[in-house]
């Protein structure tokens, strides 16, 4: 215990919190707050693009850090996990608490939701118990105004004894003042007098008994009252952290242990047990939060919730809740399909015109024919296909979906579907992770962190792939437009295509529930864990920001990845198609080898090979297939969907082939990135293998049943 605070702090920061400090002059600021308070908006607004995310060391909890400059000083902002409390009930809470206690932030900024202040004050009061270097940022003042809630910020500041800054972070309002206040506090220009919670007399007496014993250890790292209380209530996580970060082990301190025993005996004389002590502590904090909130918040109760409840009454109603949900999803697909048609064709035209130019350019350079072919027909044509097939649907789908996310609709989806997840012994939040999977399964798997129980999290991870990701949508859209909608009159084609995709997704959800249940009853036995889902207020989405964010964060990211993968894949396909063994190309040999098995599943060897070669990214499955079909015959240019249909028909396709390929697209191995993410999140090759096998076996079984069933019934 000989180490001083001075000598340990930087080392502790770097090692235990992965803090990215370059010089000791940088001022570390912690950002705490409940979930759904716009905390990340504050974080983004303050740090801009100067941020990076990773994990807390050894934990699967996201750690976001960023930096900003203010008045020529450098600040490091650490975004703590969003929590309702700091009693270390979960990994997130423990990380947040440990950072505030041991990460030595100069200032802790607590973001609170103005529309729900009372609940947020619970966390504020808990942090004030630990440290007095706190600035409270009451955010979402714009929302509060809309709901006719007013908050007396000055009075709040008087009551809790620390500075309070009101912000509307989405429009940037109040952030300048927040930075000024943080600066002033960091340089010691503000003396705070944080609210001190007075507990019941018996608890106060016990605290008094312990305080003098620990005075020497903690200096002014955090409040000794708070630490005394943690020691009395036997908080194991706190003692472990003391040992880990400060190398202090109180179990060996005999005098302290005797005093603690006495203090606990005092408490147990009046209260039933230590559990009741915790009850009293929490109850005291909650009721003080209520009192303060009553003092500073005023609102018109009838106006406040009426509109919200009316909307929720419809969106989650017994009758319409689920149909509306399915209809909304269908609408998004329909808009995507209809909207993507024209730009897709335009892009294809443009890119194939470029192909002509490129080809002419290479001929002019008089490079060898095989180099020309490899680059133009191999690499470039695959790239052109990926871009023209993928970009338009993504550029429409992602913003629309982000809009739903921004509105706050997704928690309602979880609310509507929770019952079915409970029946599958899984967690309702799995519905949220599935929604994320629509964008990208790897992102969906990372989002499984919101599920606390390890068993249920694993189920969500293993089944996430049953939601078709954005890489698979183009395949589904193309196939359903070509072969399923084809039978309908022109006016209904896009509608029919949307319905077909919707059917695939509903099937995916049903398979997810079934597999979750099977896992719960076999290898991942267990009962559903506790469930409390907040349905946050609806927020008016900021359409401009939604579009920018979804285009940059998602569309370009996914497209970039697809392009990076498609170029080498195009090369491989071209090489395989042009290296001959005997009379046939390597590609044909491989396809023929796979063919008998693929035929059993209603596919053909080329399709199965396209899926296998598409392992790096699902986006390239259709382009690979086109390339391999084309490589056999004449190199016609494909610039319309009808030609594509003809190409498939020439290779013996029927409607059944399309259905089976759609089913196999929904149910097959996750892409390389997703598998790698699963490995990282589960820290286990065994579960990664399971995540690969489960959807693959499902797909094989499903396609086999459909293909053989159709054959038996003479449908084809």
């Amino acid at each position: 215990m000989g180490l001083t605070i001075q000598s340990t702090s930087i080392g502790v920061l770097k090692e235990n919190f992965k803090l990215d400090t370059e010089s000791p002059d940088e001022i570390v600021i912690a950002l705490a707050g409940n979930p759904n308070t716009g905390k990340s908006t504050v974080f983004n607004r303050l740090t801009g693009l100067n941020q990076h995310t990773g994990n807390w060391p050894g934990k699967t909890v996201t750690n976001a850090q960023g930096s900003f400059q203010h008045h020529e000083k450098n600040y490091i902002l650490v975004d703590l996990p969003g929590t309702y409390s700091l009693f270390a009930n979960s990994m997130e809470e423990q990380i947040a608490r440990d950072f505030i206690c041991f990460g030595s932030p100069k200032v802790t900024v607590i973001v609170a939701d103005a529309t729900c202040l009372e609940r947020n004050l619970n966390l504020v009061l808990q942090i004030l118990e630990i440290t007095d270097k706190v600035v409270v940022c009451v955010n979402l003042l714009d929302e509060a105004k809309r709901k006719k809630i007013t908050i007396d910020l000055e009075k709040l500041s008087d009551q809790i004894g620390v500075p309070v800054v009101g912000t509307a972070a989405r429009s940037g309002k109040g952030l300048q003042e927040l930075k000024d206040t943080v600066e002033k506090m960091a340089v010691g220009g503000i003396i705070t007098n944080p609210f001190k919670i007075h507990y019941d007399t018996v608890i106060e007496n016990a605290i008094e008994k312990i305080e003098p014993e620990i005075e020497d250890f903690i200096k002014n790292r955090f409040h000794k009252r708070w630490m005394a209380l943690r020691l009395i209530d036997g908080d194991k996580a706190f003692q472990d952290s003391m040992k880990a970060y400060l190398d202090m082990d109180f179990s060996e301190n005999a005098t302290l242990q005797i005093k603690l025993k006495e203090a606990r005996a005092m408490i147990c004389k009046e209260l039933n047990d230590l559990e009741e002590l915790q009850d009293r502590i929490v109850s005291n904090i909650v009721s003080i939060a209520e009192d303060i909130s009553n003092e500073v918040v005023s609102f018109n109760k009838t106006v406040r919730c009426k509109k919200e409840r009316d909307i929720d009454g419809i969106l989650t109603s017994r009758l319409y809740g689920i149909p509306i949900m399915i209809a909304l999803l269908g609408l998004i697909f329909w808009i995507t399909i209809v909207g993507a048609n024209v730009p897709s064709a335009l892009l294809a035209d443009g890119l194939f015109w470029v192909e002509g130019q490129l080809s002419a350019f290479f001929l002019w350079l008089s490079v060898p024919v095989w180099v020309h072919d490899m680059i133009v027909y191999g690499v470039y044509r695959t790239l052109a296909w990926v871009v023209s097939v993928m970009l338009p649907p993504m550029a429409i789908f992602f913003p629309l979906f982000t809009l739903l996310e921004d509105l706050g609709y997704l928690p309602r989806v979880a609310f509507n579907l929770d019952y079915y997840f409970k029946k599958a012994c899984a967690h309702g939040k799995q519905a949220l992770t599935m929604c994320m999977g629509f964008g990208c399964n790897a992102a969906g798997i990372i989002s499984c962190r919101i599920i606390d129980s390890p068993r249920e999290r694993l189920i969500a991870i293993l089944t996430n792939n049953f939601v078709p990701c954005n890489g698979r949508f183009p395949t589904l859209i193309a196939l359903s437009s070509l072969f399923i909608a084809g039978g309908f009159s022109a006016a209904f084609q896009s509608f029919a295509a949307a319905i077909a995709i919707l059917a695939v997704i509903v099937l995916g959800v049903m398979i997810t529930l079934l597999i979750s249940r099977i896992l719960s009853k076999t290898v991942l036995k267990g009962l559903p864990s506790s469930f409390a889902l907040e349905l946050p207020p609806y927020r008016r989405p900021q359409i401009g920001r939604v579009i920018v964010r979804s285009l940059i964060d998602r569309t370009l990211f996914v497209l970039g990845r697809a392009v990076a993968v498609a170029a080498p894949a195009g090369l491989v396909i071209w090489v395989m198609a042009n290296i001959s063994i005997g009379n046939d190309s390597l590609l044909t040999h491989c396809a023929e080898f796979l063919d008998p098995f693929a035929k059993l599943l209603g596919l053909d060897g080329y399709i199965l090979m396209a899926f296998i070669l598409g392992l790096p990214a699902n986006e390239i499955v259709i382009p690979i297939l086109i390339m391999s079909y084309l490589s056999g015959g004449s190199m016609l240019e494909l610039d319309s969907l009808s030609e594509l249909r003809q190409l498939f028909l020439d290779h013996g396709w029927t409607q059944l082939t399309a259905v089976c390929m759609m089913l196999f697209s929904l149910n097959h191995w996750p892409c390389g990135t997703t598998l790698w993410t699963i490995r990282k999140e589960t820290q286990s090759w065994k579960w990664t293998g399971a995540a690969l096998l489960i959807p693959t076996v499902t797909g094989i079984v499903l396609c086999f049943i459909v293909a053989q069933g159709a054959a038996l019934l003479h449908l084809v």
Binding site: Q278, D279, S283, N416, S530, L535
Partner: protein, 79 residues
């Protein structure tokens, strides 16, 4: 006296109850307390999900959905 207390999941939609006791312990109890479900807290049953469970409750200005497994352990007095 306990006859007047009902588990929260039996509180009809649209009515308000006052928390009287929590029949849970350990982490589950802490989580309930974190939601602000201390003695005398008023809870309003807002609406059922399409399948009837979970149910959304108004607790201290927030809307929280609870499964019947949890809400049956929260005893309230209907007011």
């Amino acid at each position: 006296m306990s006859t007047t207390f009902i588990p929260l999941n039996q509180l009809p939609v649209g009515s308000i109850g006052k928390v009287r006791a929590l029949a849970a312990d350990g982490i589950e109890r802490r989580r309930m307390l974190d939601l602000g479900l201390i003695r005398d807290t008023t809870v309003e049953s807002l609406r059922r999900s399409p399948a009837g469970d979970p149910v959304a409750y108004g607790i201290r200005g927030a809307v929280i959905a609870l499964r019947s497994e949890e809400s049956s352990k929260i005893f309230v007095e209907s007011i």
